[in-house]
């Protein structure tokens, strides 16, 4: 009935059990023992993988460049601690497949010795381009989970003359409190980061959106930004997926980003709050992104808390620190329980994208039987995008992927609200991910067959050209021969005449 009075700016969404109290009141633990080995993948971001610049046996200092960025959209990675390079190998990635990716292994020396950092005397006087390049060189990427290189986004913002920087501090996923804690403890540093971002983009003002289930974080941020008139802190309703940047933007401003566009098209750039903190460290302290705050929680964790973890630390190390009960772990998740990835093994490194490690027990995750769809349209109500999940799933089930695309499959953000509310427990998101993967595969196949066809055509043309050339050559030779013969024939009579 309350739907009558619904805010038109707030479509769909769900409210899951929060499970944030387990970790939100405890300070971020910074006492995680330094692991013996660090496994730093060269690709922890969207775009091209970084190219290693170190060799096995090299000594590296904390913060030293390990691999430099490649191409326009890429990010470098740095040594999270001092030590020597033990290996550059393919190591399982923190991904549902656990397929190996290129990883640099550092044997730490326990010194944790920093490289000489370049600290500007007044970072707020740096040129915008300089801020961007420093952010890029520090390997800062979107820490909300999208891991898009932040410098690229800042550059886009500067080029497009944006009018608003939106700081996404929704943190709508259940269990996760890393941004919450960061705001409570390091609000001043975050605000400094936001000011640097504003300067880096020549943007006039910033808005920070915080879900209203984090009043302490709101207070801290409010106080920290009080001195700056161009930074607003706003509370937004607690409703997953508020942290979907486009949902928050719509709620706060009423604007929608066109389906085929970017936020910069309408003069907005959206960054995660933890990214702002990383920008602060990169520019003000000269420290590259080598650690991040990770929420470690779930029923199987004895000591749920937020931990500052060096990138490349194995999850097993972090889990042990938080007193995991291995026998109770029914599912290990990187990220939140809504959109996070279930990991098959725990011997994978913490990467820049990892905002949470959840060890859920069998009680936390239910595995109820899948029933037929009763068309209750709960999924339609829950979808923040405005899709018809039940119709899309029925098309995909019938292998009519094109029909699913017509219904808006490509607009789906995989937020899993539909699967969450489904009373028949239909794994809707699983269908959508499957279909997207299948479509990608088909596209690749098509691409490949097109390429084959092109090569074939090229070859045919080449052969034709060779044939024509050969013919022309043969003709020329024949003509030449004929001409010679004629010449001889002509010459002969002359001779005969002469002789005659």
């Amino acid at each position: 009935m309350l739907a009558l009075f619904e805010n038109p700016r707030l479509r769909g969404g769900i409210h899951a059990e929060e499970h944030k109290n387990e970790t939100s009141a405890k300070p971020i633990a910074t006492s995680l023992p330094l692991p013996k080995k660090l496994y730093v993948p060269v690709q922890q971001h969207v775009g091209k993988p970084a190219e290693p610049v170190v060799k096995v046996g090299d000594k590296v200092l904390k913060g030293q460049l390990l691999a430099h960025s490649q191409g326009n959209i890429s990010a470098p990675v740095h040594a999270p601690s001092s030590g020597s390079i033990l290996d550059v190998l393919d190591y399982p990635a923190p991904h549902p497949s656990a397929l190996p990716i290129r990883t640099i292994v550092i044997g730490t020396d326990g010194q944790d010795q920093w490289i000489n950092t370049d600290i500007p005397s007044d970072p707020f006087l740096l040129e915008p381009e300089e801020i961007c390049s420093r952010v890029g060189a520090a390997g800062v990427v979107g820490l909300g989970g999208a891991v898009f290189p932040s410098a690229v986004k800042l550059g886009l913002g500067r080029k497009n003359q944006i009018h608003t920087l939106l700081i996404n501090a929704g943190e709508c996923e259940p269990y996760l409190t890393c941004d919450d804690r960061l705001m409570q403890e390091r609000a001043d540093e975050i605000v400094a980061g936001i000011r640097l971002m504003l300067r880096g983009m020549n943007a006039p003002q910033a808005t920070i959106g915080i879900e209203d289930n984090k009043p302490e974080a709101y207070q801290a941020m409010y106080q920290a930004s009080e001195a700056f008139a161009n930074i607003n802190v706003v509370q937004v309703p607690t409703r997953y997926p508020m942290g979907w940047d486009r949902q928050m933007l719509r709620y706060l401003t009423g604007w929608e980003i066109p389906a085929d566009g970017r936020a910069t098209d309408i003069g907005v750039v959206i960054h995660n709050v933890a990214t702002a903190h990383a920008v602060y460290r990169a520019v003000c302290l000269g420290q590259p992104l080598i650690s991040r705050v990770v929420t470690v929680s779930g029923g199987a964790i004895g000591k749920p808390q937020n931990v500052e973890v060096l990138i490349g630390t194995l999850m097993t190390h972090v889990l042990k620190f938080c007193k995991v009960d291995k026998d109770k772990v029914a599912r290990l998740i990187m990220g939140g329980p809504m959109m996070g990835d279930a990991l098959p093994i725990a011997e994978v490194p913490v990467v820049k994208a990892c905002n949470g490690i959840l060890a859920l027990t069998a009680d936390d995750i239910e595995l109820p039987e899948v029933k037929p769809c009763i068309r209750c349209s709960s999924c339609v109500t829950a979808c923040p995008v405005g899709l018809l999940p039940l119709e899309m799933a029925s098309r995909i089930k019938a292998n009519q992927l094109e029909a699913a695309v017509d219904l808006g499959l490509k607009d789906c953000i995989n937020c899993a609200s539909c699967s969450y509310v489904c009373p028949s427990n239909i794994p809707l998101v699983h269908y959508f991910k499957f279909a997207s993967g299948e479509l990608y595969k088909r596209q690749q196949m098509e691409h490949r067959s097109e390429q084959t066809k092109r090569l074939m055509d090229d070859r045919n043309q080449r052969m034709e050209r060779i044939r024509l050339e050969a013919e022309a050559e043969a003709k020329r030779v024949a003509e030449a021969r004929a001409a010679r013969a004629r010449e001889q024939a002509q010459a002969k009579p002359v001779v005969t005449e002469e002789s005659a």
């Binding site: 009935m1 739907a3 009558l4 769900i14 899951a16 549902p96 497949s97 486009r246 604007w255 929608e256 980003i257 066109p258 389906a259 085929d260 566009g261 309408i266 029914a330 290990l332 329980p337 959109m339 996070g340 990835d341 279930a342 098959p344 093994i345 859920l360 936390d364 995750i365 239910e366 109820p368 039987e369 029933k371 037929p372 009763i374 068309r375 209750c376 349209s377 339609v380 979808c383 923040p384 899709l387 018809l388 039940l390 119709e391 219904l407 808006g408 607009d411 995989n414 899993a416 699967s419 969450y420 509310v421 489904c422 009373p423 028949s424 427990n425 794994p427 998101v429 699983h430 991910k433």
Partner: protein, 352 residues
């Protein structure tokens, strides 16, 4: 540890299909209880037989389909269908009416389409309409109100429900039936409604179907369901609003030939249909706007059939007709996708 790749979400809401069905049944119970209270033991027997028959037919169909029947029998959908069928029957109807009704609802209305969630028409309304057309006498014999302890005893009641010949109880017409007959005899309102008591009609002390007489109790159940989030307001509100507006207009133009709003709202199956039948998930549209269109269409058809049709009550036909239109509504009325216009084109940057 689990190796099989699974997509999120890794947590789920707690509401399940069986919870929904249980709540709907619960919301119907006051009205059913009232029906049994005012029409006596035969009403109880008929309800029990109809629900039991629905379960048996469901089990048989599932068996024939070759699936495990147990989880489906326990999901409560067959019980709900049986209960809804029973509620639309005349309270003293013979036992076989209930059995045939359940058979039509479960076998023809639901399982031949593929079972739960696949049917085009609301099973209970399909059964009601089929019974009405096939057995008009049994389906229009309305007993007077005979409260549980003041009517026939248990044995007499068993005879009423199980005897082969139609019982000769004191019977009359429903309000809508009486008005329809009156009009055909060139009588006019308000004289036709000389013994109509609007308060008794509201609380349900009147002739009518087993579980449809009490608008009050059905309304209470329906509002509770809405509060529980099982149904949404779009269909009931648009249905009741459309019939209210239409009857207001026509009653104002010609009060001698068109019933007033109050009589419309408190007669026949209207409340039951508005809150429990039209809101059937399977056979109603998926989008809020589609649901409003659907509800308004139901209201319009009910009013048209009641006012100008051959039958005194048009809810069953109206629902079936709108059920048939539902796929069309769902095809044309879709939610607007984020960042796109309704036609699917991306938003213009200048206008967003």
């Amino acid at each position: 540890m689990n190796i099989k790749p699974v997509s999120g979400p890794h947590v789920l809401a707690v509401r399940r299909v069986e919870d929904i069905m249980r709540k709907v049944v619960l919301a119907l119970l006051p009205a059913v209880g009232w029906g049994i209270l005012i029409f006596g033991w035969p009403a109880l027997f008929l309800t029990a037989i109809t629900v039991a028959a629905a379960l048996v037919f469901e089990a048989v169909c599932l068996k024939m389909k070759g699936v495990a029947a147990k989880p489906y029998l326990y999901d409560g959908s067959a019980v709900l269908t049986g209960l809804l069928v029973a509620m639309t029957l005349p309270p003293w109807a013979p036992w076989w009416i209930g059995v045939v009704g359940s058979a039509i609802a479960i076998v023809l209305g639901k399982q031949v389409y593929g079972g739960l969630g696949q049917n085009l028409f609301n099973p209970a309304m399909l059964a009601r309409v089929a019974l009405l057309i096939s057995f008009p006498i049994e389906m229009t014999t309305w007993v007077e109100v005979k409260p549980l302890l003041f009517g026939p005893g248990i044995l007499d009641s068993l005879a009423i429900t199980f005897s082969a010949n139609t019982n000769d109880a004191v019977a009359g017409a429903t309000t809508l039936g009486a008005v329809k007959t009156g009009f055909s005899l060139n009588q006019t309102l308000p004289g036709l409604l000389y013994d109509y008591n609007s308060f008794l009609a509201f609380i349900g002390w009147e002739r009518g179907s087993l579980g449809e007489t009490s608008s009050l109790l059905i309304l209470v159940g329906g509002l509770w369901l809405a509060r529980e989030g099982v149904i949404r307001w779009h269909i009931p509100l648009s249905l009741l609003a459309s019939i209210t507006i239409l009857s207001l207009i026509f009653h104002w133009i010609d009060p001698q030939h068109y019933l007033s709003v109050w009589v419309h709202l408190n007669s026949g199956a209207l409340m039951l249909v508005a809150f429990f039948i039209a809101t059937d998930y399977v056979t109603s549209p998926n989008t809020p706007l589609g649901q409003v269109v659907f509800g308004a269409g139901c209201g319009l058809l009910i009013f048209v059939i009641r006012s100008w049709g051959g039958y005194p009550e048009g809810t069953g036909f109206a629902i079936l007709l709108m059920n048939a239109v539902t796929p069309l509504i769902d095809h044309y009325i879709r939610p607007r996708i984020y960042g796109r216009y309704r036609n699917g084109k991306p938003l213009d940057i200048s206008q967003s």
